[in-house]
């Protein structure tokens, strides 16, 4: 099926999502870019071809990114740390399950993965993470130094 449609970005990082911590904002931009690649592939009906690679990257990405976020929250004494950490755990386990299913040859799950990404980006990155940003900006931003490398 030929696709002549030129679509604008569906997942696009915006300044309003900025946590104002360079490393974390950069990682969020990476997440949006990965999701957008998936969306563009799906628009062409080729989501299956990028599915495994995307999920592998996301699993790898979350290891580093969530660790960074949790370090930041610990350092600034963010009061919602436990709740946020629980969200990370949930996202990570759901992502791992999706990756395993894809690795087992289940390729017809791109819509489910896209739903998952929408939920992640809208409810977590663009909502929960911004609460951290609000806390960091209002209180302790001036005391922050660059984050150490996450293991």
């Amino acid at each position: 099926m030929q696709d002549v449609y030129s679509a604008p970005p569906m997942f696009q990082w915006r300044q309003q999502y900025a946590v104002n911590v360079e490393e974390i904002d950069h990682e969020h931009q990476g997440l949006f870019a990965a999701a957008e690649r998936m969306h563009q592939a799906m628009l062409a009906g080729l989501g299956k071809q990028v599915l495994q690679d995307l999920l592998a990257k996301l699993v790898s990405y979350t290891c580093v990114h969530f660790a960074h976020e949790e370090q930041l929250m610990e350092r600034v004494g963010y009061p919602g740390l436990n709740e946020h950490r629980a969200q990370h755990l949930d996202l990570r386990s759901r992502l791992e399950l999706l990756r395993k299913r894809a690795a087992a040859g289940e390729v017809t799950m791109t819509i489910e993965v896209a739903q998952f990404l929408i939920e992640w980006l809208k409810q977590h990155t663009a909502t929960s993470d911004l609460r951290i940003a609000g806390y960091v900006t209002s209180d302790v931003k001036h005391r922050l130094s660059p984050l150490p490398e996450a293991s």
């Binding site: 449609y5 569906m10 799906m42 896209a114």
Partner: protein, 611 residues
């Protein structure tokens, strides 16, 4: 609307209202003092009005720019909708029907193959049982040959020289007996393996049948339900997306209309410009012999009332236009919001809904692919077993052929022995008996191996048919069905992504329109500024004083006012002027005469100037 208004501009006769007014001022107020205090508030009004024009111009340009963006987004949504509609009407439905046909054909083929395979394997199993029984009894035949070989050896030894013609008959019989024993043992062992293989094949085929005849109907039922649902939803979605595309077109037209409405701002802007120009000229008139004070001349009152009236009318036109713009923006925002919601419900798509139609379809696709994979696996395993069965049958057929060759040799030996025994007479009678028994035994053995050969040939044919034949077709059908399922999924994910995009774009458009609507404060600013200006004009007018009756001044001052009144085409201005000439009391103009509005062509005054 714009065309109609342009036509009206052709008939407009009072384009030069400002020029006439300026002439009036030059002629009638030439002798008035403008250096006094009364000019200062007018200059302030002029500055205020010029600032108002600049601000409203910027506001309207900004709104116009946003409207152009909205139009672009709406057209994009419309294009998305059209693409989605084409997607629903396109290959998806056809592929779905073809998939259904293939699955049904596949099901019937599997049923037929399972029935024929059952019968063939049952026959093979029966033949294998017969062969095994025959070759288990073959041991007795071999023993008998051994006995006959021993008897031959004893009898030829007893005959001594007379038996020399029998040569090494005993040794040959013994050797052949060993060969036939070895061949028989091999056939018996292979027969056991064969039985195991057949039983295994029966088991595998039973599994396949369980998968095909139990899971496949369920698969077909699920596929039928899914495809019916898909076709129905696609049909509805196509209709809905066409409706939404039409709605998009209407929204685009509404935005274009709104953009046209925005240009009405020029009408009011020009009125304000005229008033500002007139006031500016009034202030700039050179002193011309009349010693004025701080109060404006009495005749200036008329001009100021007319200007105030112009401003009041402009304010009301502007307010009506702003009100319409706001209502139109609100209406467009509502329609776009409806579009966004309709997009989300199209095909049962709901953001964050884990039981949405798309996810249900994905789950069905996954189930279909899993069953196809299990069918594939079962068939491959059966193929492997049947391939082994063919090889085993071939080995057995070779072994049986060897045994049958030995049987022929034994029969030949027996015939020769019987002939020689007959030639030597009575002494050879015992050997004659042995040879006859041997011949009968070999004949009976040949009967057994002949039947076995026939059974093995039939088994070989059955195995060949089961492992070959339509297998390639079956693989091809499975492969095509799998490809079609994946293609349907691709179509599904494209629809999902497009709908996501349409919903997001529509929502963004709706939010932007609301933001523009919320930030559009030109109406209030205009009213406030006009209110200030009119208050200032009224105040200057109230303090105007009568000019001493100068014979050369008054006629020339009054005449232009009267001329102007005759040429007014705006009824409201004419009314004001006439009331002033009639000596009506001049007061602060709290309520302006009813102005022309921009809501419809018939209501537009002739003095509306469009650019």
């Amino acid at each position: 609307m714009r065309t109609a208004l342009r036509e009206k501009t052709g008939a407009w006769q009072s384009r030069n209202i400002a020029a006439r007014l300026s002439g009036l001022l030059r002629a009638g107020l030439r002798r008035q003092s403008v250096a006094g205090g009364w000019a200062a508030p007018l200059e302030g009004v002029v500055r205020d009005l010029e600032g108002l024009n600049r601000r409203t111009e910027q506001d309207f340009l900004q709104v116009g720019g946003r409207l152009a963006e909205f139009l672009s987004i709406t057209r994009q949504v419309s294009a998305d909708m059209a693409a989605l509609s084409a997607l629903f009407a396109g290959e998806g439905g056809q592929s779905a029907s073809q998939l259904l046909s293939r699955i049904l054909v596949r099901c019937r083929e599997t049923e037929a193959r399972a029935g024929a395979g059952d019968r063939a394997l049952a026959a093979a199993c029966e033949a294998s049982g017969r062969i095994a029984r025959s070759f288990r009894a073959f041991g007795e035949t071999v023993s008998m040959f051994r006995v006959l070989a021993s008897l031959t050896r004893i009898e030829t030894a007893r005959l001594g020289n007379t038996g020399a013609e029998f040569g090494n008959l005993a040794e040959e019989v013994r050797s052949l007996t060993e060969s036939i024993q070895s061949g028989g043992r091999g056939i018996l062992e292979t027969s056991s393996i064969l039985q195991e293989r057949i039983q295994s094949a029966v088991s595998r085929v039973s599994n396949l049948r369980a998968s095909a005849l139990q899971e496949l109907p369920a698969l077909i039922s699920a596929a039928l339900a899914a495809l019916r649902s898909l076709e129905e939803r696609h049909g509805r979605a196509q209709e809905a997306s066409l409706r939404q595309a039409a709605e998009c077109t209407e929204i685009s037209a509404a935005i274009e209309d709104l953009t046209t409405t925005i240009q009405f701002h020029d009408v009011t802007r020009q009125r304000v410009e005229h008033v500002a120009a007139a006031l500016r000229r009034m202030c700039a008139e050179p002193q011309d012999g009349v010693k004025g004070g701080n109060a404006a001349p009495l005749d200036a009152r008329t001009a100021l009332i007319i200007q105030s009236s112009q401003l009041a009318e402009a304010e009301q036109i502007f307010a009506a236009a702003v009100d319409r713009i706001e209502r139109d923006l609100e209406s467009i925002a509502r329609r776009v919001q409806g579009l966004a919601q309709a997009s989300r419900t199209l095909l049962g798509f709901a953001e964050g809904d884990h039981g949405s139609f798309f996810l249900q379809m994905e789950s069905r696709f996954t189930a279909i692919l899993k069953i196809l994979a299990s069918c594939d696996q079962a068939e491959n395993e059966t193929d492997a077993v049947l391939g082994g069965l063919e090889q085993t049958v071939a080995r057995m057929r070779a072994a049986v052929a060897d045994v049958r060759e030995i049987e022929i040799q034994i029969r030949r030996l027996a015939i020769n022995a019987a002939i020689r025994a007959a030639q030597i007479g009575e002494t050879g009678s015992a050997l004659h008996v042995i040879a006859e028994v041997m011949q009968r035994l070999a004949l009976a053995s040949a009967g057994v191996t002949g039947e076995a050969a026939g059974d093995l040939a039939a088994m070989g044919d059955a195995a060949g048919w089961l492992s070959g034949g339509s297998q390639q077709d079956a693989e091809s059908v499975l492969s095509e069905v799998r490809a079609t399922v994946l293609e349907l999924h691709s179509s599904s994910e494209m629809s999902f992504s497009r709908l996501n995009q349409i919903a997001a774009l529509s929502q963004r458009l709706c939010d932007d329109i609301h933001a523009v609507r919320a930030g559009f404060s030109a109406g209030a600013a205009f009213a406030e500024c006009v209110g200030r200006a009119r208050a200032a004009l009224a105040q200057v007018g109230e303090h105007a004083r009568a000019i001493p009756d100068e014979p050369d001044a008054m006629p020339s001052a009054k005449q232009p006012f009267e001329d102007l009144a005759k040429h007014y085409t705006m009824q409201s201005e004419r009314d004001v002027h006439e009331s002033v000439l009639a000596g009506a009391a001049i007061s602060r103009p709290a309520e302006a005469p009813a102005p022309a509005t921009v809501s419809g062509d018939p209501d537009l005054g002739d003095n509306v100037e469009l650019f």
